[in-house]
Symmetry: C2
């Protein structure tokens, strides 16, 4: 048996490429001015999708709550511990026990309400991501098992 | 003004690299046998992290609910509409209105309960991801604003 084959089988794939399917258009332009979470004053914003994925937006409608997954492009990916919410008085905490944007894979998770659907654009309420943030995915908020 | 400079400013970055920070070790080995959602019978599983990120797990403890973000490595990224839950009788629906693993950026989102923390490993309950699924991130489930 060729030993090279065994090595190749044992090594799992470690890196993957995500691509922006849309971008946030928001009056929030500075990370320092953004609220920590969407329910702490996230403004209304547009999410503008690539024409190529518009078909995937079918069946989203005003009034629905959805989860937006974003790429937090200003994040520091080397960070493993933080002072929660940037407050130096709070003890240093592992990033996986916090919602810090600084983390190895800076994927943002935002629960927002759809206000309007306009072709490849969604108007949403309660989004704390800054203008220009790339969007990776949209998922419905799951109702209880009986309603699935 | 050099017109090339203007072009470079206008083109936003579209692709990003994520990397596995850990892997799922689960008795579920086939996608066909996996439950659709963790609360529909997801078994207990281990999440085994890379030694390099173990410091980020500090402050996670048994009893906590966390969100695991995974890379659904068997997904078809060209799919934009699906029959929900694979049931052909249900009308074709845009993927962003479903939790289908097949979608342009196949990032899985799993709400699980931490049963135990053992160095770089978390024992969790209610995870429907199959054995070998790469893990990208862990986030706490957010309590109400007053408890943050």
């Amino acid at each position: 048996m060729n030993p090279q084959v065994r090595v190749e089988v044992a090594v799992a794939e470690q890196e993957f490429r995500v691509r922006a399917i849309g971008w946030v258009e928001s009056p929030l332009v500075e990370r320092a001015g953004a609220p920590r979470q969407g329910d702490e004053g996230g403004p209304e914003a547009w999410v503008v999708f690539e024409a190529g994925v518009e078909r995937g937006l079918r069946d989203l409608a005003a009034g629905q709550e959805v989860l937006l997954l974003t790429w937090l492009h200003r994040a520091d990916r080397e960070v493993l511990t933080v002072h929660p919410r940037g407050e130096r008085s709070r003890p240093e905490t592992g990033v996986f026990a916090t919602r810090s944007p600084d983390r190895p894979n800076p994927i943002g998770l935002h629960r927002v309400t759809v206000l309007a659907v306009d072709g490849p654009r969604l108007r949403v309420e309660g989004l704390e991501a800054i203008d220009g943030t790339p969007v990776l995915d949209v998922k419905p908020v799951l109702p209880g098992p009986s309603e699935r």
